[in-house]
């Protein structure tokens, strides 16, 4: 069999939309398709889904692609549903679906996938080449089923794809809705069985489910994670979500305005599930979505009784089947969410829900995996969850707990949503217009950037009123550079102090944990506290003082040893404000400086080692000792000649390399006793990086050696520190970097028109 995938011949089999209407998720689709290829070598793929991000259509599209490719890969898609009543029931459904889809593929008849067929029908339809093994499978199934061994039956059904004779093809099973499988646990723990059967099948498979649940299930099933790949499914980007709204609205024939399309994306947090459900509701109610009012009326209807209501109600019914418990749960969830009490104790919930410890933990576990709360064992954070979930909670609370009149709740829901809509969009437009502090901070990776970008007063003096081109040229020649730290974590300051929400929005103030030089030690750890101040004019000293104090207090409250405050405002800072901040060692920048910094970050390579990428790059690995540094020196001599370095410069480079190799050999305590050398030729320079595994030399950065007790040893050690001194003298730029395990010394030599 061979591929035939032209769009003319492409048939929709399980996909609910045509390929061209499947928006976003292109990399994810490629990834799942790749999992089916022989190259994946029987590995499993766990698709970790954020709630309501939608995974079913991705798997259905994968199925259709594979079905149409007509290779030896036989796609099988199975979705667990809330109609499955037990593990045995779900397993039998799986067996039936597998056989049906298998025969549909073998006969190349897509329609068979959706036909209502019995096992006997399938035997009749089976191609003659398959008849024997399918008959044997059916007979075995009948026998095990009559034996009443549920676990055996579940295993038999789930392992059916492994019974396909290799010469007829190989099954590629995609399981959807793993979180629902967990609800079917009885005599058989279905989720665990699934992972055990497929994890040991040596056949590639995909298991998709909620991210918090699926990883836990994999751990419970003692899966070999070396044979599993993970793919995280997040929300769509704004553009993708916008395109999705557009496509779905057209498909459902729902007239929409651009304003409403933008609002839907923001209101539903780019969730494909919510967006699709909402537009389907619009079609069912024959409602055009032209204005915000159209939109929020339908939204209120949906929360009170439509698809959205059904979705959340079904979830709550699963989590708390008893009505009384469910109402108390709604009360606890909404009251906690509305008061924004960050956490509640598990014990208080258990008492109010009148549940045993195990029952309460079961409820919390369900809420946690659906990301409706964050539960860490002792406390519950109820402030999490989507805006739609919170709105649902609110209407449910008012209707079911407070018994308020429905009309009043509807009117208030529409009114609240309408009042909120402009703010939602305003925040979105501001986010688009402003550069995200979080994104900027995440790019910090030991780059050297002009220091003037962090000093508004100096920047204004040099570049105010200067064209962008001149500023760029000016920055290029800036000799004073700031070496950024390496960022390891960024979070909103609200995560550290909820009270700050009263003075700033979540994304406008971030706490950035970093290490100078990428060296992971207490001494090198620096916490950057970055805030964007809203101001149409230059920020005056009073406001700068308030923010400096606010962030310093945050640092003190959390015992941040070394911290760096950096304030950003649209138009910069007055002279007084700049001087005030400078005196406190704080940075301050305008939006223009921030924008230039982002450009610089994009242009400035990080000091982290990368894979060999160009033909002008060479990598050699030498064992330490045996005068092997001479081999390195000889190699670099040949490479340096390509750049027409004068002989004296070549000698300098050779000596520096020799010293670097000796340094690595003497100081690194390298476990593998190897020196990794990378030589990169650029138009005007040679960059040499010498790395080794092991510890960081104690004399790094100082040019002196470590201390010893003996006076003679001290003199000797001091002389040994000459290596670094020589390197620094002989090369133009020298930089030590700490890598995860070991050290890396980067040395640059520039070609200078024949002179050294």
């Amino acid at each position: 069999m061979h591929g035939a995938n032209s769009s003319d011949n492409f048939r929709r089999v399980l996909g609910r939309v045509n390929r061209q209407d499947f928006v976003g998720r292109v990399p994810e689709l490629e990834r799942t398709l790749a999992q089916a290829s022989p190259k994946s070598n029987g590995r499993g793929l766990l698709l970790l889904m954020k709630p309501a991000t939608g995974v079913s259509e991705l798997l259905r599209q994968t199925y259709d692609q594979l079905f149409n490719q007509r290779t030896d890969v036989i796609p099988v898609y199975f979705a667990f549903t809330r109609q499955d009543t037990s593990a045995v029931h779900a397993a039998i459904e799986f067996l039936s679906s597998f056989l049906q889809q298998y025969i549909a593929f073998r006969r190349n008849e897509p329609a068979l996938c959706d036909a209502a067929l019995t096992l006997q029908d399938l035997l009749v339809l089976a191609p003659s080449a398959d008849l024997l093994w399918i008959e044997q499978l059916v007979q075995l199934y009948e026998r095990v089923r009559s034996s009443n061994d549920k676990k055996e039956l579940v295993r038999l059904c789930l392992s059916a794809p492994q019974r396909v004779p290799p010469h007829l093809g190989r099954s590629f099973v995609m399981l959807d809705g793993a979180e629902l499988a967990e609800d079917l646990n009885g005599d058989v723990v279905l989720g665990t069985e699934i992972l055990r059967v497929f994890g040991r099948s040596k056949q590639s498979f995909v298991l998709a489910g909620l991210r918090r649940q699926i990883l836990e299930a994999a751990h419970n099933a003692k899966c070999n994670f070396e044979l599993l790949d993970l793919l995280r499914l997040e929300e769509l980007t704004f553009d993708e979500a916008n395109s999705l709204v557009d496509h779905v609205a057209r498909r459902q024939q729902v007239p929409t305005s651009r304003e409403v399309r933008d609002l839907l994306v923001q209101q539903f947090g780019s969730s494909p599930f919510f967006i699709s459900a909402f537009l389907q509701a619009a079609r069912e109610k024959n409602t055009a979505l032209i204005s915000y009012l159209d939109c929020e009326r339908l939204y209120a209807d949906e929360l009170l009784g439509g698809h959205l209501n059904h979705h959340f109600q079904a979830l709550l019914e699963e989590i708390a089947p008893e009505l009384e418990n469910r109402l108390m749960l709604i009360k606890l969830l909404w009251e906690g969410s509305a008061t924004e009490e960050k956490t509640a104790s598990v014990d208080s919930w258990r008492k109010r829900l009148h549940l045993s410890t195990d029952e309460c933990e079961d409820v919390l576990h369900q809420l946690h995996i659906h990301e409706l709360v964050n539960w860490n064992g002792a406390t519950i954070d109820v402030t999490t969850g989507s805006q739609t979930w919170k709105d649902f909670l609110k209407v449910s609370y008012r209707l079911s707990v407070l018994n308020e009149p429905r009309a009043l709740v509807v009117a208030d829901t529409i009114g609240d949503a309408l009042k909120r809509a402009p703010h939602t969009m305003s925040r979105h437009y501001k986010r688009l217009a402003q550069l995200g502090l979080r994104e900027v901070a995440l790019q910090f990776d030991c780059q050297r950037v002009p220091e003037v970008l962090f000093d508004y007063a100096s920047f204004a003096k040099k570049f105010k009123g200067v064209s962008d081109a001149e500023v760029l040229a000016g920055l290029e020649s800036e000799s004073v550079r700031l070496k950024l730290p390496q960022t390891i974590h960024v979070a909103s300051c609200l995560s550290f102090n909820r009270d700050l929400r009263q003075v700033c929005e979540e994304q406008k103030c971030v706490v950035v944990h970093t290490f100078d030089d990428g060296i992971y030690s207490d001494a090198q750890e620096v916490i950057w506290l970055i805030a964007r101040i809203d101001s149409k004019l230059e920020v005056e000293v009073g406001l700068a003082e308030v923010w400096q104090e606010r962030l310093a207090e945050l640092a003190r409250a959390h015992s941040f040893g070394r911290y760096r405050i950096w304030l950003v405002s649209n138009e910069g800072f007055s002279d007084d404000a700049s001087h005030y901040l400078e005196a406190r060692n704080a940075f301050c920048s305008s939006e223009r400086q921030l924008s230039l910094l982002i450009d610089q970050l994009a242009m400035t390579p990080t000091s982290r080692p990368s894979a060999i990428e160009t033909s002008d790059e060479f990598l050699i690995v030498l064992p330490m000792g045996e005068d092997n540094e001479l081999l390195a020196a000889s190699t670099v001599e040949h490479i340096a000649r390509r750049l027409t370095f004068p002989p004296a410069a070549i000698n300098q480079i050779k000596t520096a390399i020799v010293e670097a190799c000796i340094n690595a050999s003497e100081h690194s305590f390298s476990p593998d006793r190897k020196i990794y050398q990378r030589f990169r030729l650029e138009s005007d320079r040679l960059v040499v990086t010498i790395s080794s595994r092991g510890i960081l030399p104690t004399n790094v950065g100082s040019g002196t050696a470590s201390t010893t007790n003996n006076e003679d040893d001290e003199a000797t050690e001091e002389r040994r520190g000459w290596g670094l001194k020589l390197i620094r003298t002989l090369m133009d730029e020298v930089e030590f970097e700490r890598v995860d395990e070991g050290t890396s010394l980067r040395m640059t030599k520039y070609v200078r028109n024949g002179s050294v």
Partner: protein, 130 residues
């Protein structure tokens, strides 16, 4: 002139001056061999040392630190040290690390011996075999 080779290091004596020849790469190992030879020559009564770098293409910092050790030992023995035939690259390194403050440089061995003949009393230009 009879040149001896102890521990792979060539040397010979001109009167009370020992001439020791450095190899093509001056590192820890070859530096220590030179040091041993110089100590041996001083122990046998040499009053001056000439270290000839004519063959030396490359030196490293450990080799240079050992040379400083030789200069220290020579000073304690009240012996003079001259470095002969050092290439420009190596001179640059010696300068960087301050060696040239403690030692005289000569164009070649003959110039080194000549320098010593004018400064060392009792200088005898007759070669002596050790």
């Amino acid at each position: 002139m009879d040149i001896s080779s102890v521990s792979d290091v060539k040397s010979h004596c001109v009167g009370t001056t020992a001439v020791v020849y450095a190899s093509d790469y001056l590192n820890k190992l070859t530096g220590e061999k030179i040091e041993r030879e110089c100590r041996r020559q001083l122990a046998q009564g040499c009053r001056a040392l000439v270290i000839d770098f004519a063959d030396t293409q490359l030196v490293n910092s450990i080799g240079i630190s050992i040379l400083l050790g030789i200069i220290d030992v020579a000073e304690k023995n009240k012996a003079q040290v001259v470095f002969a035939d050092v290439n420009n690259q190596t001179v640059e390194l010696f300068d960087m690390l301050g060696l040239t403050r403690h030692v005289a440089l000569a164009k070649d061995e003959q110039e080194a011996l000549l320098t010593l003949s004018t400064t060392v009393s009792g200088f005898d230009s007759t070669p002596t075999v050790h």
